[in-house]
Subunit: 227 residues, 2 copies
């Protein structure tokens, strides 16, 4: 099972949205907040490119670098507010108990991901693939392909769990099964329309429905009361 | 034409979300941010009631009052960030030019609405109906019914424009035609599922499609080139 991080395991999407808005304002770009929200989950580079395109203006690499820097700084100020989503730690513990291998693959950079990983208490042996590890982030499939490679599992046997359209598009391009979560603030139909096999509310809801995505609990022997 | 305010004419939904989150934290309630977002647009009282219900706990009226107060204070801190959505002022000016009567009807209180109204430069003769003016806010129909009454128009002739499911449900209960906008961060299908007759991106997009909702420009005489 390959997890996105922001909005999927930790409740951090809205803080990323506000941090991007503040970065864009700093360079003189006013964009509606909902348009930023809908780009969260894709690579930061693609996000900047897509948002700048909506303004119809051209910007140099110095502006891109400044946007990345201000976003990272503003997001860091929210660090104390970042919490695991309901059920996230229970879900990961359950996978461990069932010996289901899992990894994390995020379009974010290692520095920003560190805050979220700390809140989740992710053991050091779990593969965490970040933006720096691949040539292209989501919606390209590279992050999930690399995560599957590190787990030594076939990507076509993997379930990708994400809260954004970009996770689900990347899952399809990787030929993995995509599962959507509403906990990043996207609508159920947006995720279904991007190819989600199933959509759940949050990690707690996925945990209650693990059998629907092919994760089976070992059958415990039920005493036969007629014996 | 009867407009919701936050997320429909001004870009303020995400600031309301964060302000409610901070208010809830202050009284010891941790709720996922997306759940708060999905309740924005309904009456503050119903919102608190719905969110507290998700925690499964009981709270007294003192907690309700404290939540309202902290939300108002935290939201006020965002006042300098609140801006009209793209096209909002042009749309309202266009309606004035076409002599289409319009009003604003918000589940918010007058105090919070004042910030948004200032950024829009709403003329003082425009009816603005707020939470204090009616017994029940959205999704009850009262706010839109009162706005139509003040314009002296039949509610069944009115078009309600809103960004939330609660606007569209209130429009249906009022027997008005509901039009949805994506600018509050809800998905197209969520709004369509709540009964939107049409869904547009934001006020600018609605302005480009006014004919689809029954607002006609006076036909300007086109010179016949064969004359």
């Amino acid at each position: 099972m390959l997890f996105d991080l922001d909005g999927t395991l930790v409740d951090s999407v809205y803080q990323h949205v506000i941090a991007w808005q503040q970065a864009l304002e700093r360079v003189g770009i006013e964009l509606s907040v909902w348009r930023i929200h809908r780009r969260i989950g894709m690579s930061g580079g693609l996000l900047i490119h897509a948002l700048l395109r909506e303004t119809g203006r051209q910007f140099g690499t110095d502006v891109h670098r400044q946007l990345h820097e201000v976003h990272a700084r503003e997001y860091a100020r929210f660090a104390s507010q970042i919490r695991p989503l309901p059920g996230a730690r229970d879900l990961l513990a359950r996978l461990d108990a069932l010996a289901v291998p899992w990894a994390i693959a995020t379009s974010g950079r290692a520095e920003g991901a560190a805050v979220a990983l700390r809140s989740l208490d992710v053991p050091s042996h779990v593969p965490v693939v970040t933006r720096e590890d691949v040539a292209h982030a989501k919606p390209d499939p590279d992050l999930f392909l690399e995560a599957a490679r590190r787990l030594d599992v076939d990507i076509t046997e993997a379930v990708v769990v994400g809260d954004s359209v970009w996770d689900l598009l990347a899952a399809r391009r990787a030929r993995a099964l995509g599962v959507g979560l509403l906990s990043g603030g996207n609508g159920r139909e947006e995720l279904a329309g991007a190819g989600a096999y199933r959509v759940y509310e949050d990690p707690a809801d996925l945990l209650r429905h693990l059998d629907e995505v092919g994760v089976r609990s070992p059958v415990s022997p039920v005493p036969d009361r007629r014996d």
